[in-house]
Symmetry: D2
Subunit: 415 residues, 4 copies
């Protein structure tokens, strides 16, 4: 009953692209690895489903989708005469497949709360090295591509750049599952327009409108989905729950939770611990959405009033009300709200900080400095898209916008 090589050429059904085929037995084995299977239990958009009920899709699905698009891109480039070896192809496929392997549950929310001083990119690098050992060095070229140390730079750009397969998949997939049709992008068309010039991924000139549409769609997805104010409230509520739970557990009061989840609540490992103590990463790769939510559900009945209140708000989706304005909320407004909440729930003023939260949100749809820039190819000449598009002011899309929010549960005598 050993699975033959041919059995490893499997087809996955995917509601977005139809079919995703696994191009390689090595890639099949990576998909079967517990580190990768774990991504099935981590939702791509965390708590977004509280606003867009369809957003239940997992990082597993996204990683498979990005693999699909990589195959598309490599085929397109080959057909345009860019030489790509089988080894490079496999490596690029692996690099994109595993680009999110270091993500934990609700990771954008819980980075710096549950784990400290270490990003999911660091953890990805860590896991890639472990897997490479396990697979006898077969991931070496993929790791070079991922870390941008491979001399053919454009492979890295397919994995990570303004127009990489990661973004192309997540924008389309998130748009698909949220039902926000404004975010739908023509991934197929965009990929058909890609080329490589001077070892850089470029978009052919006739693709300029598709790129513009992509930038607009991305920006709209930010405001409508990724920065949706109700999602924001839920995420900050989750942060407050974890912070309160850490305080409780570190104060010695027992708390329900899986051993690996409790490990992080109690021990607060730092970046260096991930490298020096194997159990840290072991615990990390054990936790997923299920650990977090099943614990919070139990906490709704915990004797600590703040913890149980916060937990109930999240589980029963009785979210605090959020206010947004262009200026930072002044201290007195915040204090007044905290006072009211402290009275309402009969909790110490200090603990009211978990219920009254202010902060800022911002977006940059096209950040020239940080991410590098799109380049449109015209007669072999490279131009930045911001200048290539004579009838569209791309710069306006990259203007950073900052807004301030304040949220708290309904209470008397405030806003």
């Amino acid at each position: 009953m050993t699975r033959s090589e041919t059995n490893k050429r499997k087809l996955f059904n995917d509601p977005v692209y139809g079919f995703i085929s696994v191009p390689d037995p090595l890639i099949f084995d990576l998909i079967e690895h517990p580190y990768f299977q774990r991504l099935r239990r981590i939702k791509q958009l965390g708590l977004t489903h509280l606003v867009y009920p369809g957003a239940m899709h997992s990082r597993f699905q996204h990683s498979m989708g990005a693999l699909f698009l990589m195959g598309h891109a490599l085929r397109t480039l080959s057909e345009k005469g860019i030489p790509i070896t089988e080894e490079e192809k496999t490596a690029a496929n692996i690099a994109i497949l595993l680009h999110d392997i270091g993500h934990g549950p609700y990771s954008h929310t819980l980075e710096n709360i549950l784990i400290n001083g270490i990003s999911h990119e660091d953890i990805t690098n860590n896991i890639l090295d472990l897997l490479n050992k396990e697979f006898d060095g077969k991931l070496s070229l993929a790791i070079q591509i991922y870390r941008n140390s491979y001399h053919r730079n454009f492979f890295h750009q397919l994995v990570s750049s303004q127009l990489d397969m990661d973004r192309l998949d997540y924008l389309r997939r998130d748009s698909f599952f949220t039902g926000v049709s404004e975010g739908v992008i023509g991934t197929e068309r965009l990929i058909k327009m890609l080329n490589v010039i001077d070892d850089k991924i470029v978009v052919e000139e006739k693709g300029i409108y598709s790129v513009e549409k992509f930038l607009v769609a991305r920006r709209l997805m930010y405001w409508q989905v990724y920065l949706h104010k109700t999602v924001l409230v839920a995420e900050h509520l989750l942060i407050q729950i974890i912070q309160r739970a850490k305080k409780i557990v570190q104060g010695g009061t027992p708390l329900f939770g899986s051993p690996s989840f409790l490990f992080f609540l109690k021990n607060q490992p730092e970046k260096k611990d991930f490298y020096s103590k194997p159990e840290v990463l072991n615990h990390f790769t054990e936790i997923d959405d299920f650990d977090i939510m099943s614990a919070i559900k139990v906490w709704t009945k915990h004797p600590d009033k703040s913890l149980s209140l916060l937990s109930s708000m999240l589980i029963q989706r009785q979210l605090p009300k959020i206010f947004i304005q262009k200026e930072k909320y002044d201290l007195s407004t915040v204090e007044k709200a905290r006072q009211a909440i402290s009275e309402k729930y009969a909790i110490p003023f200090e603990e009211s900080k978990h219920f009254v939260v202010d902060g800022a949100l911002s977006n940059r749809a096209y950040n020239q400095d940080h991410d590098g820039s799109f380049i449109a190819a015209k007669k072999g000449e490279l131009t930045d898209i911001a200048t290539a598009s004579d009838n569209f002011n791309i710069q306006t899309l990259s203007k950073p916008v900052k807004k301030y929010f304040l949220f708290y549960p309904k209470a008397n005598g405030v806003l």
Copy 2:
């Protein structure tokens, strides 16, 4: 900051239908109720996502979708001159919204394993009564419709019959999220063809092809999705895990798990307990997919070898191999496999039953006796669809097909 009535006319984004609007403040309040919010944490298709990664959608989404279709159907019937009062409309909407309120996690799999002698329909009835009390009797007509005690029978048929809004939504939605396009049905067209004659839901004659297509799609969804052999293996594995866990916990060995989940593992409440002891239903409405999966993850490290092996197989998706044939597997084959497994894992022969499982699967796409039958209206005359379709042998679709399976992990000396 009190939410006004107009705020309760909310729009939900839905990837299948676009937008779903909540027609009524009462319905909005029911959606906000913890009993209903809980459906967000119960996947519609249980473990199916292990085969079709897109199948992450929740019973919350399905219930909202069925609500959407009910609105469509009631509007269509009104336009055709069937008198429907506002009160009836609201009641029919509530009946379909709450038709799955009694489902627990992995309910088709765990009924009779986690709960005994009580079906999710019983629990739904139980919860409906509780909610009706809480909402001052406003659900009475909805409950009559649900229980088919309302004198206008066709309302019940919209909630539960061969062609009800439940089936129309789940077939389309499951097909959408699994990516199995063969199951897509023209819900819009089918609903436009509905009418009421003699207080029965009928399909207009020109809708006969749509009904045939619906029956075929439903049958294909059964074989490709609902009875997919790998899903079957995963489901039976889950059953074995729960059975082993019950034995362990009832033997006095502590097991990780949320209090409500452990309650069911330990106490095995029966149907009458649901009615006589309020804490039984309370515990039931606390458990969802998160309780089950987070516990099983922890059990992968439990000292009980069988429990940890079974749990690892499910969590890491290292599923046993399944064999299917038209005849029942004979005892000696099963015994031989159990012997091999017992040796392989060095576990008592008795425990090998958790790893070597045989059983039967069957399907009936159109079961005339049980569900009542479709009726096509031609000049007011009612005909069974099986005879109405002169060029299609509907009976062949309803022929029950039975197959037998046997699965077990890879082991030497067997099949």
Copy 3:
């Protein structure tokens, strides 16, 4: 300004598949040929748009779509290890691209009315020979494949068989443009399931449900679209118009029309004339939907009463009413209707035959004898799908159904 070879690698936008790329400069040149461009002016579904307004798509679009699917199929087979040379690939692409090149306007309707004793397949063969000469023999292998004289038989099956690229495209495309979603088939999935065994195209066993769905979709498309009774009326009306016009023009009365259209009305060339007199084919390749409809529009004002009445009915879509039953209409009913029409329009009884038309319609969704049969591959063993599908009675789909119709304009004293 000579177009370089690279310019010939063009992309066509297609609403059904997204993009269709032209794989070869030779194929690009064939697409640019006037014989092929002419297909832009011939609607795929003739008069069907009078019932389904979206059905405006052309044979050009269908031919390009079939080319797209052929590329898909050849790639799938190659990936499964079937050796296919570049020459064979190009030839198969050409064979499918040109498979409809011999179609005239409204060809299913007007065969044997406008042209006599010669089918569009004969004309296709004729044109293929002409093109082969023009392209210096480069179409020879394509012609062998088209005519099934190439020794690797499966290439012909991709062009013409139960499950060829022609059918796969037209069912999906016609379903797409008519908006009849029941006809949508999973072309992508079906093609992924194809393989070649013993030089025959087979469907892998797991594709059996997709094949069943395909057969059902095809059958439904027949009854809902291809044999739609109102389309039937329009088609028979067109036949009557052409017959009346031929009588008039052959009687010496001048009639408006393009020279090539008038050539066929006057001369009634036979099959042998297509081969012996070059001007016959020249005229044939000049006519398209525009010749027919622009003439009929002018004929609505012609002094011949029958011609103008028939023409107006078609142009203004005032179609006669059709009756359908399972038995042939008896002569007396037909005579009575003709009498009434003759009086109503004050035309000779003889001419009433153009307004009162009876006939038969039938369908066979799966005709085992004529077309050969599907074969499902299980462990290399070949089975007819009719027996392979143990839970589906495929034979019921192939039962020929015959119905009889009678149509005529509203008149007193009849049905």
Copy 4:
């Protein structure tokens, strides 16, 4: 066999929206009128199908689609509490259904070529009056709405404004049929966001991103489809053909063509003639795409060399090459090209103007002055969208862009 009132409640299949139901027997009768049926024979996008083969859809389909969206909009506004009477509803439906009734074939191209000094809007007004007489004044309110003389101004805005049902349908439909997915707009979402404040159609504030997306999609459709350079060449070629044909026919040489088409080539009626001479409008309502193309096909064999050359280029799609730049082409370049063409074809220099054509193209996606402006409603306060969108520079979308083109067939010694 008289059609009963209920038979007039017909459903049309539509590939874009699924089903379109006819809300009213009066509207059904208008759809059946020859003036409206004629729109079946006029392609919505004229010659665009030469570049986007799917763009075969008719003005009939577009008008039905706009009717569908109007129904949607009126229902949305009613649900938000805007009082709308049955009479107003019917009138608004009629106004949008007939808004394109005055279009002729290739009307954007042939206005001022085939007809002079009269726009399709003038002709629409003319036809509306005729129909109103024919339908005993039942169109009076619809006409008021169309002409913006009805006191409730917002009805007119639904028919004609920045965000009217006309634009919403054509952008989505043209995008659908061309396969240019960048143009897809969320019509459903946009319409759900509409409201009426101070008798003006406004978009609710949360709809601001949808409006932005709409504006971007519209702009992209302009550059990718409506102003596509190859379509432009084809359109100008058609203009040259008609101009040459007029010269020939007015010089006394006979030309093939339908009587109504020839009437316009010979007589050049002016605006006043449309009102004073009934036969002018009669002839106008007789011509459609079929008259034009069937004549041009015959002209490919006309003895006038320029006419036959131009006609062949269009029919066989051997289009001249186009050059585009930001400055006007200087006279000497144009003269040089004309000289080369004159020699190449051995035609008088004067006639070379038909082959060498220069001109300008421009677009304004959001023209504040001309069309009025979008208004976003926030707490009842009205704002122009250009200022309402604080993070998007709408003005950049409305910047007029002008480019210059020059095209001519391949010839020696030029560009």
